[in-house]
Protein backbone atom coordinates (compact mmCIF):
# COMPACT_ATOMS: atom_id res chain seq x y z
CA UNK A 1 0.00 0.00 0.00
CA UNK A 2 2.85 2.32 0.88
CA UNK A 3 3.93 2.46 -2.76
CA UNK A 4 0.66 4.10 -3.63
CA UNK A 5 1.41 7.10 -1.51
CA UNK A 6 3.75 9.82 -2.55
CA UNK A 7 6.07 10.51 0.43
CA UNK A 8 5.67 14.23 -0.08
CA UNK A 9 1.92 13.76 0.22
CA UNK A 10 2.46 12.14 3.60
CA UNK A 11 4.19 15.22 4.84
CA UNK A 12 1.80 17.81 3.55
CA UNK A 13 -1.28 15.67 3.96
CA UNK A 14 -2.23 16.26 0.34
CA UNK A 15 -3.18 13.49 -2.02
CA UNK A 16 -3.13 13.91 -5.79
CA UNK A 17 -6.37 13.13 -7.66
CA UNK A 18 -6.65 9.46 -8.52
CA UNK A 19 -4.31 8.32 -5.77
CA UNK A 20 -5.36 6.44 -2.69
CA UNK A 21 -6.76 8.75 -0.06
CA UNK A 22 -7.92 6.19 2.44
CA UNK A 23 -7.23 2.51 2.66
CA UNK A 24 -8.84 -0.10 4.84
CA UNK A 25 -6.77 -3.24 5.33
CA UNK A 26 -8.04 -6.43 6.84
CA UNK A 27 -10.44 -4.66 9.15
CA UNK A 28 -12.58 -6.72 11.52
CA UNK A 29 -15.17 -5.37 13.89
CA UNK A 30 -17.38 -7.29 16.25
CA UNK A 31 -19.97 -6.40 18.85
CA UNK A 32 -19.80 -9.07 21.48
CA UNK A 33 -20.58 -12.17 19.46
CA UNK A 34 -21.81 -10.36 16.34
CA UNK A 35 -19.16 -10.05 13.68
CA UNK A 36 -20.20 -6.96 11.74
CA UNK A 37 -17.08 -6.76 9.56
CA UNK A 38 -14.73 -9.66 8.80
CA UNK A 39 -11.32 -8.91 7.36
CA UNK A 40 -12.38 -6.34 4.78
CA UNK A 41 -9.85 -4.46 2.64
CA UNK A 42 -10.50 -1.78 0.05
CA UNK A 43 -9.36 1.68 -0.81
CA UNK A 44 -10.82 5.03 -1.72
CA UNK A 45 -9.12 7.19 -4.33
CA UNK A 46 -9.10 10.93 -4.26
CA UNK A 47 -11.87 12.50 -6.30
CA UNK A 48 -13.90 9.36 -6.95
CA UNK A 49 -17.38 8.33 -5.93
CA UNK A 50 -17.03 5.01 -4.21
CA UNK A 51 -20.22 3.05 -3.58
CA UNK A 52 -20.66 0.47 -0.85
CA UNK A 53 -23.54 -1.88 -1.50
CA UNK A 54 -24.85 -5.04 0.05
CA UNK A 55 -27.93 -6.52 1.71
CA UNK A 56 -29.23 -5.21 5.02
CA UNK A 57 -26.97 -6.07 7.94
CA UNK A 58 -23.98 -6.55 5.64
CA UNK A 59 -21.90 -4.11 7.69
CA UNK A 60 -22.01 -1.05 5.43
CA UNK A 61 -22.96 1.47 8.12
CA UNK A 62 -20.48 -0.13 10.49
CA UNK A 63 -17.78 0.43 7.87
CA UNK A 64 -18.56 4.16 7.71
CA UNK A 65 -18.50 4.27 11.49
CA UNK A 66 -15.06 2.71 11.43
CA UNK A 67 -13.82 5.19 8.84
CA UNK A 68 -14.87 8.22 10.82
CA UNK A 69 -13.61 6.98 14.13
CA UNK A 70 -16.91 6.20 15.77
CA UNK A 71 -16.16 2.48 16.06
CA UNK A 72 -12.69 1.14 16.69
CA UNK A 73 -12.05 -2.11 14.83
CA UNK A 74 -10.48 -4.99 16.77
CA UNK A 75 -8.22 -5.81 13.85
CA UNK A 76 -6.86 -4.12 10.78
CA UNK A 77 -5.20 -0.94 9.66
CA UNK A 78 -6.70 2.24 8.30
CA UNK A 79 -4.46 4.64 6.46
CA UNK A 80 -5.75 8.12 5.74
CA UNK A 81 -3.73 10.42 3.51
CA UNK A 82 -0.64 8.30 3.95
CA UNK A 83 -0.80 8.20 7.71
CA UNK A 84 -1.78 5.17 9.72
CA UNK A 85 -4.72 5.97 11.92
CA UNK A 86 -4.90 5.11 15.57
CA UNK A 87 -8.12 4.80 17.53
CA UNK A 88 -9.52 8.30 17.75
CA UNK A 89 -12.55 10.29 18.74
CA UNK A 90 -14.94 11.16 15.90
CA UNK A 91 -14.34 14.90 16.23
CA UNK A 92 -10.73 14.34 15.29
CA UNK A 93 -11.77 12.55 12.12
CA UNK A 94 -14.01 15.55 11.46
CA UNK A 95 -11.10 17.90 11.94
CA UNK A 96 -9.11 15.84 9.42
CA UNK A 97 -11.75 16.53 6.80
CA UNK A 98 -14.16 13.59 7.05
CA UNK A 99 -17.87 14.46 7.11
CA UNK A 100 -20.92 12.27 6.91
CA UNK A 101 -24.66 11.94 6.81
CA UNK A 102 -26.68 9.25 8.53
CA UNK A 103 -28.97 6.47 7.45
CA UNK A 104 -31.59 7.66 9.90
CA UNK A 105 -31.47 11.44 9.63
CA UNK A 106 -29.54 12.78 12.62
CA UNK A 107 -30.29 16.48 12.47
CA UNK A 108 -30.42 18.77 15.47
CA UNK A 109 -34.19 18.79 15.77
CA UNK A 110 -34.61 21.85 17.94
CA UNK A 111 -32.62 24.08 15.61
CA UNK A 112 -33.44 25.82 12.32
CA UNK A 113 -32.12 24.73 8.93
CA UNK A 114 -29.70 27.64 9.01
CA UNK A 115 -28.38 26.80 12.48
CA UNK A 116 -28.04 23.13 11.60
CA UNK A 117 -25.88 23.96 8.62
CA UNK A 118 -23.97 26.57 10.60
CA UNK A 119 -22.88 23.86 13.05
CA UNK A 120 -20.94 22.40 10.14
CA UNK A 121 -18.72 25.49 10.34
CA UNK A 122 -17.84 24.93 13.99
CA UNK A 123 -14.34 23.70 13.28
CA UNK A 124 -13.64 26.73 11.13
CA UNK A 125 -14.78 29.22 13.74
CA UNK A 126 -12.01 30.19 16.08
CA UNK A 127 -13.41 32.92 18.32
CA UNK A 128 -13.57 32.13 21.99
CA UNK A 129 -16.18 32.41 24.68
CA UNK A 130 -15.53 36.00 25.70
CA UNK A 131 -15.68 37.46 22.25
CA UNK A 132 -18.92 35.53 21.61
CA UNK A 133 -20.34 36.88 24.83
CA UNK A 134 -20.06 40.41 23.47
CA UNK A 135 -20.84 39.49 19.84
CA UNK A 136 -18.68 42.34 18.76
CA UNK A 137 -15.92 42.93 16.26
CA UNK A 138 -14.10 39.71 15.38
CA UNK A 139 -16.82 37.35 16.59
CA UNK A 140 -19.43 39.20 14.59
CA UNK A 141 -17.41 39.42 11.38
CA UNK A 142 -16.51 35.75 11.71
CA UNK A 143 -20.17 34.88 12.05
CA UNK A 144 -21.02 36.95 8.97
CA UNK A 145 -18.26 35.35 6.93
CA UNK A 146 -19.47 31.86 7.71
CA UNK A 147 -23.06 32.85 7.25
CA UNK A 148 -22.16 33.81 3.67
CA UNK A 149 -20.56 30.43 3.03
CA UNK A 150 -23.62 28.71 4.44
CA UNK A 151 -25.96 30.80 2.30
CA UNK A 152 -24.13 29.54 -0.79
CA UNK A 153 -24.81 25.99 0.32
CA UNK A 154 -28.45 26.83 1.02
CA UNK A 155 -28.84 28.28 -2.46
CA UNK A 156 -27.04 25.35 -4.03
CA UNK A 157 -29.33 22.82 -2.32
CA UNK A 158 -32.41 24.94 -3.10
CA UNK A 159 -33.59 25.13 0.49
CA UNK A 160 -33.70 28.90 0.91
CA UNK A 161 -37.43 28.79 1.64
CA UNK A 162 -36.92 26.67 4.77
CA UNK A 163 -33.92 28.62 6.03
CA UNK A 164 -35.51 29.64 9.32
CA UNK A 165 -37.79 26.62 9.78
CA UNK A 166 -37.15 24.21 12.65
CA UNK A 167 -35.89 21.04 10.98
CA UNK A 168 -37.93 18.68 13.14
CA UNK A 169 -41.09 19.53 11.23
CA UNK A 170 -39.68 19.32 7.68
CA UNK A 171 -40.62 16.50 5.32
CA UNK A 172 -38.16 13.63 5.20
CA UNK A 173 -36.70 14.44 1.78
CA UNK A 174 -35.86 17.98 2.85
CA UNK A 175 -34.34 16.76 6.09
CA UNK A 176 -31.97 14.58 4.08
CA UNK A 177 -31.06 17.62 2.02
CA UNK A 178 -30.39 19.75 5.10
CA UNK A 179 -28.22 16.97 6.45
CA UNK A 180 -26.19 16.98 3.25
CA UNK A 181 -25.87 20.76 3.61
CA UNK A 182 -24.60 20.38 7.15
CA UNK A 183 -21.92 17.96 5.98
CA UNK A 184 -20.98 20.19 3.02
CA UNK A 185 -20.58 23.16 5.33
CA UNK A 186 -17.56 21.36 6.77
CA UNK A 187 -15.95 21.57 3.31
CA UNK A 188 -14.84 17.97 3.74
CA UNK A 189 -12.23 16.17 1.71
CA UNK A 190 -14.01 12.90 2.26
CA UNK A 191 -17.78 12.82 2.39
CA UNK A 192 -19.54 9.70 3.67
CA UNK A 193 -23.19 9.38 2.67
CA UNK A 194 -25.21 6.63 4.33
CA UNK A 195 -28.25 5.90 2.14
CA UNK A 196 -28.87 9.55 1.22
CA UNK A 197 -31.80 8.59 -1.00
CA UNK A 198 -33.54 6.02 1.14
CA UNK A 199 -37.27 6.62 1.22
CA UNK A 200 -37.22 9.22 -1.53
CA UNK A 201 -39.37 9.34 -4.62
CA UNK A 202 -37.89 9.37 -8.10
CA UNK A 203 -37.80 13.13 -8.43
CA UNK A 204 -36.13 13.60 -5.06
CA UNK A 205 -33.59 10.93 -5.96
CA UNK A 206 -32.77 12.76 -9.17
CA UNK A 207 -32.28 16.02 -7.28
CA UNK A 208 -30.04 14.33 -4.75
CA UNK A 209 -27.99 12.62 -7.49
CA UNK A 210 -27.53 15.96 -9.19
CA UNK A 211 -26.32 17.54 -5.95
CA UNK A 212 -23.86 14.73 -5.30
CA UNK A 213 -22.40 14.92 -8.81
CA UNK A 214 -22.10 18.70 -8.61
CA UNK A 215 -20.30 18.45 -5.28
CA UNK A 216 -17.85 16.00 -6.77
CA UNK A 217 -17.24 18.11 -9.86
CA UNK A 218 -17.03 21.56 -8.31
CA UNK A 219 -15.27 20.87 -5.01
CA UNK A 220 -13.39 17.74 -6.01
CA UNK A 221 -14.76 16.06 -2.91
CA UNK A 222 -14.14 12.35 -2.54
CA UNK A 223 -17.45 10.65 -1.82
CA UNK A 224 -18.37 7.30 -0.32
CA UNK A 225 -22.01 6.44 -0.80
CA UNK A 226 -24.08 3.58 0.54
CA UNK A 227 -27.06 3.01 -1.73
CA UNK A 228 -29.54 0.26 -2.47
CA UNK A 229 -30.90 1.57 -5.75
CA UNK A 230 -28.68 -0.09 -8.37
CA UNK A 231 -29.71 2.46 -10.99
CA UNK A 232 -28.36 5.26 -8.83
CA UNK A 233 -25.20 3.31 -8.07
CA UNK A 234 -24.59 2.72 -11.80
CA UNK A 235 -25.13 6.39 -12.60
CA UNK A 236 -23.07 7.90 -9.82
CA UNK A 237 -20.23 5.71 -8.78
CA UNK A 238 -16.81 5.14 -10.22
CA UNK A 239 -16.13 1.98 -8.25
CA UNK A 240 -18.25 -0.28 -6.09
CA UNK A 241 -17.37 -2.50 -3.15
CA UNK A 242 -19.90 -5.17 -2.21
CA UNK A 243 -20.28 -6.45 1.32
CA UNK A 244 -22.25 -9.46 2.46
CA UNK A 245 -22.36 -10.82 5.99
CA UNK A 246 -19.46 -8.56 6.90
CA UNK A 247 -17.24 -9.85 4.10
CA UNK A 248 -16.16 -8.25 0.88
CA UNK A 249 -17.49 -10.31 -1.99
CA UNK A 250 -16.70 -8.04 -4.92
CA UNK A 251 -14.89 -4.83 -5.82
CA UNK A 252 -14.74 -3.10 -9.18
CA UNK A 253 -16.54 -0.88 -11.64
CA UNK A 254 -20.34 -0.90 -11.48
CA UNK A 255 -20.53 -3.04 -14.62
CA UNK A 256 -18.04 -5.61 -13.30
CA UNK A 257 -19.80 -5.85 -9.99
CA UNK A 258 -23.20 -6.23 -11.55
CA UNK A 259 -22.15 -9.24 -13.57
CA UNK A 260 -20.30 -10.86 -10.65
CA UNK A 261 -21.85 -14.21 -9.74
CA UNK A 262 -21.21 -13.86 -6.01
CA UNK A 263 -23.02 -10.53 -6.01
CA UNK A 264 -25.97 -11.92 -7.90
CA UNK A 265 -26.17 -14.81 -5.43
CA UNK A 266 -25.99 -12.47 -2.43
CA UNK A 267 -28.79 -10.32 -3.77
CA UNK A 268 -30.91 -13.27 -4.76
CA UNK A 269 -30.36 -14.77 -1.32
CA UNK A 270 -28.58 -17.97 -2.29
CA UNK A 271 -27.75 -20.00 0.82
CA UNK A 272 -24.22 -19.56 2.17
Amino acid sequence: MKADVDPKATMTGDVEPGQVMLSVENVSLSFGGVKAIRGVSFDIRKGEIRAIIGPNGAGKTSMLNVINGFYHPQEGVITFKGRRRSAMRPYIAASQGIARTFQNVALFKGMSTLDNIMTGRTLKMKRGLLSHALHFGPAKSEEIRHREAVEHIIDFLEIAHIRKAPVGKLPYGLQKRVELGRALAMEPELLLLDEPMAGMNLEEKQDMSRFILTVKDTFNTTIVIIEHDMGVVMDLSDRVVVLDYGQKIADGTPAEVQSNQAVIDAYLGVAH
Binding site: Y91, M111, H135, R182
Partner: protein, 367 residues
Protein backbone atom coordinates in the same frame (compact mmCIF):
# COMPACT_ATOMS: atom_id res chain seq x y z
CA UNK B 1 -48.33 49.96 15.14
CA UNK B 2 -48.99 46.57 13.68
CA UNK B 3 -46.61 43.77 14.52
CA UNK B 4 -45.21 42.88 11.11
CA UNK B 5 -41.96 41.92 9.58
CA UNK B 6 -43.36 42.40 6.09
CA UNK B 7 -41.64 45.28 4.35
CA UNK B 8 -38.61 45.00 6.61
CA UNK B 9 -36.17 43.58 4.11
CA UNK B 10 -32.75 42.81 5.39
CA UNK B 11 -30.03 43.87 3.05
CA UNK B 12 -27.19 42.27 4.99
CA UNK B 13 -26.55 39.16 7.04
CA UNK B 14 -25.55 41.44 9.83
CA UNK B 15 -29.09 42.85 10.02
CA UNK B 16 -30.64 39.42 9.73
CA UNK B 17 -28.43 38.12 12.52
CA UNK B 18 -29.31 40.96 14.89
CA UNK B 19 -30.40 39.95 18.36
CA UNK B 20 -33.96 40.97 17.58
CA UNK B 21 -34.39 41.02 13.79
CA UNK B 22 -37.94 42.38 13.90
CA UNK B 23 -38.13 46.13 14.43
CA UNK B 24 -41.15 46.03 16.72
CA UNK B 25 -39.27 43.66 19.04
CA UNK B 26 -36.37 46.06 19.24
CA UNK B 27 -38.67 48.98 20.00
CA UNK B 28 -40.51 46.96 22.64
CA UNK B 29 -37.25 45.98 24.31
CA UNK B 30 -35.95 49.54 24.29
CA UNK B 31 -39.21 50.74 25.81
CA UNK B 32 -39.08 48.01 28.43
CA UNK B 33 -35.56 49.02 29.42
CA UNK B 34 -36.49 52.70 29.61
CA UNK B 35 -39.49 51.89 31.79
CA UNK B 36 -37.48 49.51 33.97
CA UNK B 37 -34.59 51.92 34.52
CA UNK B 38 -36.28 55.32 34.59
CA UNK B 39 -39.95 54.93 35.43
CA UNK B 40 -40.38 51.90 37.66
CA UNK B 41 -38.02 53.21 40.38
CA UNK B 42 -40.19 56.29 40.79
CA UNK B 43 -43.64 54.79 40.62
CA UNK B 44 -43.22 51.41 42.32
CA UNK B 45 -43.77 51.21 46.07
CA UNK B 46 -40.92 50.36 48.37
CA UNK B 47 -42.52 47.02 49.14
CA UNK B 48 -42.97 46.17 45.47
CA UNK B 49 -39.35 46.98 44.67
CA UNK B 50 -37.84 45.20 47.64
CA UNK B 51 -40.09 42.19 48.02
CA UNK B 52 -41.10 41.47 44.44
CA UNK B 53 -38.92 43.05 41.80
CA UNK B 54 -35.53 42.47 43.43
CA UNK B 55 -36.08 38.72 43.99
CA UNK B 56 -37.67 38.47 40.55
CA UNK B 57 -34.60 39.96 38.88
CA UNK B 58 -32.11 37.89 40.86
CA UNK B 59 -33.91 34.62 40.31
CA UNK B 60 -34.36 35.47 36.62
CA UNK B 61 -30.58 35.65 36.39
CA UNK B 62 -30.30 32.30 38.14
CA UNK B 63 -32.92 30.84 35.79
CA UNK B 64 -31.03 32.14 32.74
CA UNK B 65 -27.91 30.43 34.06
CA UNK B 66 -29.71 27.17 34.67
CA UNK B 67 -31.46 27.39 31.32
CA UNK B 68 -28.11 27.55 29.53
CA UNK B 69 -27.17 24.23 31.06
CA UNK B 70 -30.52 22.43 31.04
CA UNK B 71 -32.43 24.11 28.24
CA UNK B 72 -29.65 24.83 25.76
CA UNK B 73 -27.09 22.12 26.46
CA UNK B 74 -29.51 19.45 27.66
CA UNK B 75 -27.57 18.57 30.81
CA UNK B 76 -29.91 18.14 33.74
CA UNK B 77 -28.94 19.75 37.03
CA UNK B 78 -30.54 19.56 40.45
CA UNK B 79 -27.70 21.46 42.10
CA UNK B 80 -28.41 25.09 41.16
CA UNK B 81 -28.90 26.02 44.83
CA UNK B 82 -25.41 24.78 45.65
CA UNK B 83 -23.92 27.01 42.95
CA UNK B 84 -25.84 30.00 44.27
CA UNK B 85 -24.37 29.18 47.69
CA UNK B 86 -20.86 28.96 46.27
CA UNK B 87 -21.32 32.36 44.66
CA UNK B 88 -22.67 33.84 47.88
CA UNK B 89 -20.08 32.41 50.27
CA UNK B 90 -17.16 33.07 47.94
CA UNK B 91 -18.23 36.67 47.54
CA UNK B 92 -18.54 36.92 51.30
CA UNK B 93 -15.05 35.55 51.80
CA UNK B 94 -13.57 37.90 49.22
CA UNK B 95 -15.23 40.94 50.78
CA UNK B 96 -14.05 40.02 54.27
CA UNK B 97 -10.59 38.82 53.30
CA UNK B 98 -9.43 35.29 52.65
CA UNK B 99 -7.00 33.71 55.11
CA UNK B 100 -6.32 30.09 54.48
CA UNK B 101 -3.46 28.67 56.52
CA UNK B 102 -1.87 25.81 54.63
CA UNK B 103 0.36 24.53 57.44
CA UNK B 104 1.12 21.28 55.66
CA UNK B 105 2.75 23.17 52.87
CA UNK B 106 4.33 25.66 55.23
CA UNK B 107 2.53 28.55 53.57
CA UNK B 108 -0.76 30.35 53.63
CA UNK B 109 -3.13 32.02 51.22
CA UNK B 110 -3.90 35.54 52.29
CA UNK B 111 -6.00 37.96 50.27
CA UNK B 112 -6.99 41.30 51.77
CA UNK B 113 -10.68 42.28 51.72
CA UNK B 114 -11.79 43.26 48.24
CA UNK B 115 -14.45 45.70 47.07
CA UNK B 116 -17.95 44.35 46.48
CA UNK B 117 -18.02 44.34 42.68
CA UNK B 118 -14.81 42.36 42.12
CA UNK B 119 -15.87 40.06 44.94
CA UNK B 120 -19.17 39.30 43.25
CA UNK B 121 -17.43 38.59 39.95
CA UNK B 122 -14.87 36.40 41.70
CA UNK B 123 -17.76 34.63 43.42
CA UNK B 124 -19.12 33.88 39.97
CA UNK B 125 -15.73 32.56 38.89
CA UNK B 126 -15.50 30.28 41.90
CA UNK B 127 -18.92 28.87 41.05
CA UNK B 128 -17.77 28.42 37.44
CA UNK B 129 -14.68 26.48 38.53
CA UNK B 130 -16.70 24.18 40.78
CA UNK B 131 -19.27 23.90 37.98
CA UNK B 132 -16.59 22.66 35.61
CA UNK B 133 -15.43 20.09 38.18
CA UNK B 134 -18.95 18.80 38.67
CA UNK B 135 -19.51 18.92 34.91
CA UNK B 136 -16.73 16.44 34.24
CA UNK B 137 -18.94 13.43 35.08
CA UNK B 138 -21.34 14.63 32.37
CA UNK B 139 -18.78 13.53 29.81
CA UNK B 140 -19.51 9.98 30.87
CA UNK B 141 -23.00 9.91 32.31
CA UNK B 142 -26.33 11.21 31.14
CA UNK B 143 -29.89 11.80 32.22
CA UNK B 144 -30.89 10.31 35.53
CA UNK B 145 -27.33 9.50 36.57
CA UNK B 146 -26.20 13.05 35.92
CA UNK B 147 -29.19 14.32 37.88
CA UNK B 148 -28.08 12.21 40.83
CA UNK B 149 -24.51 13.49 40.55
CA UNK B 150 -25.69 17.11 40.65
CA UNK B 151 -27.96 16.24 43.54
CA UNK B 152 -24.90 14.94 45.34
CA UNK B 153 -23.23 18.32 44.71
CA UNK B 154 -26.23 19.99 46.31
CA UNK B 155 -26.06 17.91 49.49
CA UNK B 156 -22.29 18.10 49.64
CA UNK B 157 -22.25 21.90 49.58
CA UNK B 158 -25.20 22.17 51.98
CA UNK B 159 -23.06 20.18 54.35
CA UNK B 160 -19.85 22.12 53.66
CA UNK B 161 -21.38 25.52 54.30
CA UNK B 162 -23.01 24.34 57.53
CA UNK B 163 -20.07 22.36 58.89
CA UNK B 164 -17.01 24.25 57.70
CA UNK B 165 -17.16 27.32 59.90
CA UNK B 166 -14.36 28.98 57.95
CA UNK B 167 -16.86 29.95 55.26
CA UNK B 168 -19.02 31.89 57.72
CA UNK B 169 -15.99 33.41 59.45
CA UNK B 170 -16.76 31.39 62.60
CA UNK B 171 -19.91 33.31 63.55
CA UNK B 172 -21.49 31.44 66.48
CA UNK B 173 -24.96 31.24 64.89
CA UNK B 174 -23.66 30.14 61.51
CA UNK B 175 -25.55 32.95 59.81
CA UNK B 176 -23.66 35.58 57.90
CA UNK B 177 -24.27 39.29 57.36
CA UNK B 178 -23.22 40.94 54.13
CA UNK B 179 -20.95 43.95 54.49
CA UNK B 180 -21.97 47.36 53.20
CA UNK B 181 -22.68 47.39 49.45
CA UNK B 182 -20.16 49.97 48.41
CA UNK B 183 -19.66 50.38 44.68
CA UNK B 184 -16.77 52.76 44.11
CA UNK B 185 -18.04 55.12 46.79
CA UNK B 186 -21.68 54.68 45.90
CA UNK B 187 -23.41 52.90 48.76
CA UNK B 188 -26.39 50.81 47.71
CA UNK B 189 -28.87 50.88 50.50
CA UNK B 190 -32.43 51.92 49.64
CA UNK B 191 -34.85 49.67 47.82
CA UNK B 192 -34.55 51.76 44.67
CA UNK B 193 -30.78 51.42 44.68
CA UNK B 194 -30.99 47.68 45.29
CA UNK B 195 -33.46 47.34 42.46
CA UNK B 196 -31.33 49.33 40.02
CA UNK B 197 -28.24 47.34 40.95
CA UNK B 198 -29.99 44.04 40.27
CA UNK B 199 -31.51 45.40 37.08
CA UNK B 200 -28.09 46.43 35.81
CA UNK B 201 -26.63 42.99 36.53
CA UNK B 202 -29.53 41.16 34.96
CA UNK B 203 -29.55 43.38 31.86
CA UNK B 204 -25.85 42.85 31.23
CA UNK B 205 -25.96 39.10 31.76
CA UNK B 206 -29.16 38.59 29.82
CA UNK B 207 -27.51 40.29 26.82
CA UNK B 208 -24.40 38.17 27.25
CA UNK B 209 -26.49 35.02 27.47
CA UNK B 210 -28.46 35.97 24.37
CA UNK B 211 -25.22 36.63 22.47
CA UNK B 212 -23.77 33.30 23.50
CA UNK B 213 -26.79 31.22 22.56
CA UNK B 214 -27.09 32.73 19.09
CA UNK B 215 -23.42 32.28 18.25
CA UNK B 216 -21.17 29.34 17.52
CA UNK B 217 -20.98 28.28 21.16
CA UNK B 218 -24.76 28.27 21.54
CA UNK B 219 -25.11 26.13 18.43
CA UNK B 220 -22.58 23.69 19.85
CA UNK B 221 -24.58 23.46 23.09
CA UNK B 222 -27.83 22.85 21.24
CA UNK B 223 -26.21 20.33 18.92
CA UNK B 224 -25.01 18.35 21.94
CA UNK B 225 -28.50 18.59 23.43
CA UNK B 226 -30.30 17.44 20.28
CA UNK B 227 -28.01 14.67 19.05
CA UNK B 228 -24.67 14.34 20.78
CA UNK B 229 -23.30 11.62 18.49
CA UNK B 230 -23.97 13.61 15.31
CA UNK B 231 -22.53 16.69 17.01
CA UNK B 232 -19.27 14.90 17.66
CA UNK B 233 -19.09 13.71 14.08
CA UNK B 234 -19.47 17.34 13.01
CA UNK B 235 -16.30 18.17 14.86
CA UNK B 236 -17.92 19.48 18.02
CA UNK B 237 -15.90 18.44 21.05
CA UNK B 238 -18.38 17.26 23.69
CA UNK B 239 -15.75 18.05 26.31
CA UNK B 240 -15.55 21.70 25.33
CA UNK B 241 -19.25 22.22 24.67
CA UNK B 242 -20.44 20.64 27.90
CA UNK B 243 -17.83 22.18 30.15
CA UNK B 244 -18.34 25.69 28.75
CA UNK B 245 -22.07 25.24 29.37
CA UNK B 246 -21.35 24.18 32.95
CA UNK B 247 -18.95 27.09 33.40
CA UNK B 248 -21.18 29.82 31.96
CA UNK B 249 -24.23 28.43 33.71
CA UNK B 250 -22.53 28.14 37.09
CA UNK B 251 -21.01 31.59 36.69
CA UNK B 252 -24.40 33.22 36.22
CA UNK B 253 -26.02 31.13 38.95
CA UNK B 254 -23.11 32.03 41.25
CA UNK B 255 -23.60 35.73 40.58
CA UNK B 256 -27.30 35.40 41.24
CA UNK B 257 -26.45 33.64 44.53
CA UNK B 258 -24.17 36.50 45.51
CA UNK B 259 -26.88 39.04 44.71
CA UNK B 260 -29.48 36.99 46.54
CA UNK B 261 -27.33 36.97 49.66
CA UNK B 262 -25.92 40.49 49.50
CA UNK B 263 -28.68 42.52 47.92
CA UNK B 264 -31.91 40.70 48.73
CA UNK B 265 -31.34 38.89 52.02
CA UNK B 266 -28.54 40.96 53.57
CA UNK B 267 -28.00 38.25 56.16
CA UNK B 268 -28.37 34.57 55.47
CA UNK B 269 -27.71 31.01 56.51
CA UNK B 270 -26.98 27.94 54.40
CA UNK B 271 -30.67 27.04 54.33
CA UNK B 272 -31.23 29.92 51.89
CA UNK B 273 -29.60 27.79 49.20
CA UNK B 274 -30.93 24.34 49.92
CA UNK B 275 -32.50 21.87 47.53
CA UNK B 276 -35.75 23.84 47.47
CA UNK B 277 -33.91 26.69 45.80
CA UNK B 278 -32.60 24.26 43.17
CA UNK B 279 -36.09 23.02 42.45
CA UNK B 280 -37.44 26.55 42.37
CA UNK B 281 -34.99 27.51 39.63
CA UNK B 282 -35.65 24.30 37.74
CA UNK B 283 -39.42 24.90 37.84
CA UNK B 284 -38.88 28.43 36.55
CA UNK B 285 -36.93 27.06 33.61
CA UNK B 286 -39.45 24.36 32.79
CA UNK B 287 -42.50 26.59 33.14
CA UNK B 288 -40.89 29.54 31.37
CA UNK B 289 -39.46 27.47 28.56
CA UNK B 290 -36.43 25.25 28.11
CA UNK B 291 -33.96 26.88 25.76
CA UNK B 292 -35.32 30.43 25.98
CA UNK B 293 -33.86 33.50 27.64
CA UNK B 294 -37.24 35.23 27.61
CA UNK B 295 -38.73 32.09 29.13
CA UNK B 296 -36.37 32.37 32.08
CA UNK B 297 -37.92 35.72 32.95
CA UNK B 298 -41.47 34.48 32.39
CA UNK B 299 -40.85 31.43 34.56
CA UNK B 300 -39.32 33.47 37.36
CA UNK B 301 -42.23 35.90 37.26
CA UNK B 302 -44.79 33.13 37.35
CA UNK B 303 -43.24 31.17 40.21
CA UNK B 304 -42.81 34.30 42.31
CA UNK B 305 -46.12 35.91 41.51
CA UNK B 306 -48.34 32.86 41.86
CA UNK B 307 -48.25 32.75 45.71
CA UNK B 308 -48.68 36.50 45.94
CA UNK B 309 -51.57 36.39 43.52
CA UNK B 310 -53.28 33.58 45.42
CA UNK B 311 -52.71 35.44 48.63
CA UNK B 312 -54.12 38.77 47.52
CA UNK B 313 -56.81 38.13 44.93
CA UNK B 314 -59.23 35.88 46.87
CA UNK B 315 -58.73 38.24 49.78
CA UNK B 316 -59.66 41.24 47.70
CA UNK B 317 -62.70 39.39 46.36
CA UNK B 318 -63.75 38.60 49.90
CA UNK B 319 -63.24 34.84 49.55
CA UNK B 320 -61.96 33.46 52.84
CA UNK B 321 -58.99 31.23 52.18
CA UNK B 322 -56.47 30.10 54.77
CA UNK B 323 -52.73 30.52 54.46
CA UNK B 324 -52.29 26.77 54.46
CA UNK B 325 -54.74 26.29 51.64
CA UNK B 326 -52.85 28.89 49.63
CA UNK B 327 -49.55 27.11 50.01
CA UNK B 328 -51.21 23.84 49.02
CA UNK B 329 -52.79 25.51 46.04
CA UNK B 330 -49.40 26.83 44.97
CA UNK B 331 -48.01 23.29 44.97
CA UNK B 332 -50.98 21.91 43.11
CA UNK B 333 -50.91 24.56 40.39
CA UNK B 334 -47.14 24.45 39.92
CA UNK B 335 -47.07 20.67 39.90
CA UNK B 336 -49.85 20.20 37.41
CA UNK B 337 -48.53 22.98 35.18
CA UNK B 338 -45.09 21.36 35.10
CA UNK B 339 -46.57 17.97 34.22
CA UNK B 340 -48.68 19.58 31.52
CA UNK B 341 -45.82 21.56 30.01
CA UNK B 342 -43.32 18.71 30.11
CA UNK B 343 -45.75 16.52 28.21
CA UNK B 344 -47.41 19.01 25.87
CA UNK B 345 -45.13 22.01 25.44
CA UNK B 346 -41.54 21.67 26.64
CA UNK B 347 -40.84 25.17 25.45
CA UNK B 348 -43.15 26.54 28.09
CA UNK B 349 -44.59 30.02 28.27
CA UNK B 350 -41.97 31.32 25.87
CA UNK B 351 -43.42 29.06 23.16
CA UNK B 352 -46.96 30.20 23.90
CA UNK B 353 -45.70 33.75 23.58
CA UNK B 354 -44.07 32.93 20.24
CA UNK B 355 -47.32 31.39 18.98
CA UNK B 356 -49.22 34.50 20.04
CA UNK B 357 -46.71 36.65 18.16
CA UNK B 358 -47.06 34.44 15.10
CA UNK B 359 -50.83 34.91 15.21
CA UNK B 360 -50.37 38.64 15.62
CA UNK B 361 -48.11 38.75 12.59
CA UNK B 362 -50.75 37.19 10.43
CA UNK B 363 -53.67 39.07 12.00
CA UNK B 364 -56.34 39.70 10.82
CA UNK B 365 -55.93 36.92 8.26
CA UNK B 366 -56.18 33.36 9.54
CA UNK B 367 -53.30 32.17 7.33
Amino acid sequence: MLYREAGQFKSSYSADMAMFPIRQDRIALALLLVVAFFIVPFVASDYFLRAILVPFLILSLGAIGLNILVGYCGQISLGAGAFMAIGAYSTYKFTTGVHLPLDWFGTEISIPPLAVLPSILLGGFMAAIVGILFGIPSLRIKGLYLAVATLAAQFFFDWVFIRVKWFSNYTPSGSVAAPELNFFGLVVHSSIERYLLCLAFVTVFAFIAKNLVRGSLGRQWMAIRDMDIAAELMGIRPFYAKLTAFAVSSFMIGISGALWAFVYLGAWEPLAFDINRSFQLLFMVIIGGLGSILGSFLGAAFILILPIFLDQVPHALGIPISVETISHLVFIIQGSLICYLLIVEPHGFARLWAIAKEKLRLWPYPY
